[in-house]
């Protein structure tokens, strides 16, 4: 489903969670600042494979309260309001239960430096720990440590 370019703030996510067979969701170019899925537990979006939520207003806390998407393979978080990524939260998000099948996350952080806006690109891939593979990050244009 493509809902790009509308005026959604994130509260509407709970309605989309009602759709049982949703596999692709494009929420880019909206006004989303958080995921409001209270009341759905971990069963919401349990078939979602690709989520585009780039160009919204999601802040640094996104990884602390990130919903569990059990089938999510690709996540696009570019061009949001994040200016740093906590290493621990991020690794937990990638490797533990919340995104067990994630293969690709796209990030572009905006960081204020010397009063000017600079962009950093990073693309992450993770292997599936359920298959006994180590969780690590590949194809990184910048190391996680830099964040």
């Amino acid at each position: 489903m493509n809902l790009s370019g509308n005026h959604l703030t994130g509260k509407g996510m709970r309605y989309l969670a009602l759709l049982p067979n949703l596999t692709d969701l494009d929420l880019s170019n909206n006004l989303i600042h958080n995921f409001d899925l209270d009341g759905f537990g971990d069963s919401a979006f349990n078939k979602l494979e690709r989520l585009k939520i780039n160009n919204n207003f999601i802040n640094n806390d996104v990884f602390k309260n990130f919903p569990a998407f059990s089938e999510l393979i690709a996540l696009d978080l570019r061009d949001n309001a994040m200016d740093k990524v906590d290493h621990r939260d991020f690794i937990e998000l990638l490797c533990l239960s919340r995104l067990p099948k994630i293969k690709n996350i796209q990030l572009r952080l905006c960081r204020m430096q010397n009063s000017s806006l600079s962009l950093m690109d990073a693309s992450f891939s993770a292997l599936n720990p359920d298959r006994g593979e180590d969780c690590f990050v590949t194809n990184v244009s910048r190391s996680l440590n830099e964040f």
Binding site: N2, S4, N6, H7, G12, Y15, L18, N21
Partner: protein, 279 residues
């Protein structure tokens, strides 16, 4: 850049001319070769023909569709081109995919609208499966097929593209005459609100039994109200729904997907375990 493009087209020409393959699948007739297509070997069958953005003359038409194996073409793109009405209604009956986006029709020296040629084309092309009529300013009455098709003579069209016309939500009823319809693109029209359409009297399984993809992008649909189960079923049965660029707010999503979701899922055999937090 131009020389590179020319070189590629030249390479394509020689590849096709000297190729040992008997059935090339596709041919693109660029402006460099638009003079005629007689270079195509007689023993080759051309299934796809691209004639975009050009003036299609009678000589060129005869060259392509009568003197060469293009007469068996199944896929034709003449979007943004200019063609006479006589030639338009002489297209090969073998065509299955036809793009007429922004095509200009010449009649007695004047450019006329495509409105009056849609039904004759559908009658002429019985095998048509994909039709693109975008950018024509079509209104609902222009695609009213109520007196054209009947149950024994239904359209085979599976993909109907009507981007950037002047259709409103009532036009959806017209597509009930396309029982094979799988994909419908109504983006950049003036749908305004699905609430204005009465789905109560429609049986979805009869009218849109195979519809999988619906695009309503940039159609001003910012006040949708789902007030009956037929409507919810119609939307939720889709595999692909594009509602982008409509100014939709969170509450509108609720009105679309919450009102009858649980009932629809139960009716379709889905085991609905989650409850809306708003119930």
């Amino acid at each position: 850049m131009i020389s590179v493009v020319f070189f590629m087209k030249l390479l394509l020409f020689f590849c096709m001319f000297f190729s040992s393959e008997s059935i090339p699948y596709k041919i693109f007739l660029s402006r460099f070769f638009h003079r005629n297509a007689s270079f195509v070997s007689k023993n080759r069958l051309i299934f796809a023909c691209n004639l975009k953005n050009r003036e299609i003359s009678e000589e060129m038409f005869i060259d392509i569709f009568q003197n060469t194996s293009c007469q068996f073409t199944k896929k034709l793109d003449i979007s943004w081109s200019t063609i006479s009405d006589g030639l338009l209604l002489s297209l090969p009956k073998t065509i299955e995919e036809l793009s007429l986006a922004r095509v200009k029709i010449r009649f007695s020296g004047n450019i006329v609208s495509i409105q009056n040629y849609i039904k004759p084309l559908l009658a002429r092309l019985p095998n048509l499966r994909v039709l693109d009529l975008s950018f024509h300013g079509l209104e609902n009455s222009d695609i009213d097929f109520s007196n054209f098709f009947n149950r024994s003579l239904g359209s085979k069209i599976e993909v109907f593209i009507l981007k950037n016309n002047h259709l409103d939500i009532q036009a959806i009823a017209n597509f009930a005459h396309f029982p094979e319809l799988r994909s419908l693109d109504l983006s950049d029209n003036s749908m305004v609100s699905l609430a204005e359409f009465d789905f109560q009297g429609l049986l979805r399984d009869f009218y849109f039994p195979k519809l999988e993809s619906l695009s309503l992008r940039n159609s001003g649909m910012n006040a949708i109200v789902a007030d009956n189960e037929e409507y919810s079923a119609f939307l939720l049965s889709l595999k692909k729904l594009d509602l982008s660029d409509n100014g939709i707010r969170d509450a509108v999503l609720g009105s679309i997907f919450e009102t009858h979701c649980s009932e629809v899922f139960r009716a379709s055999g889905f085991e609905f375990k989650r409850q809306s937090p708003y119930r």
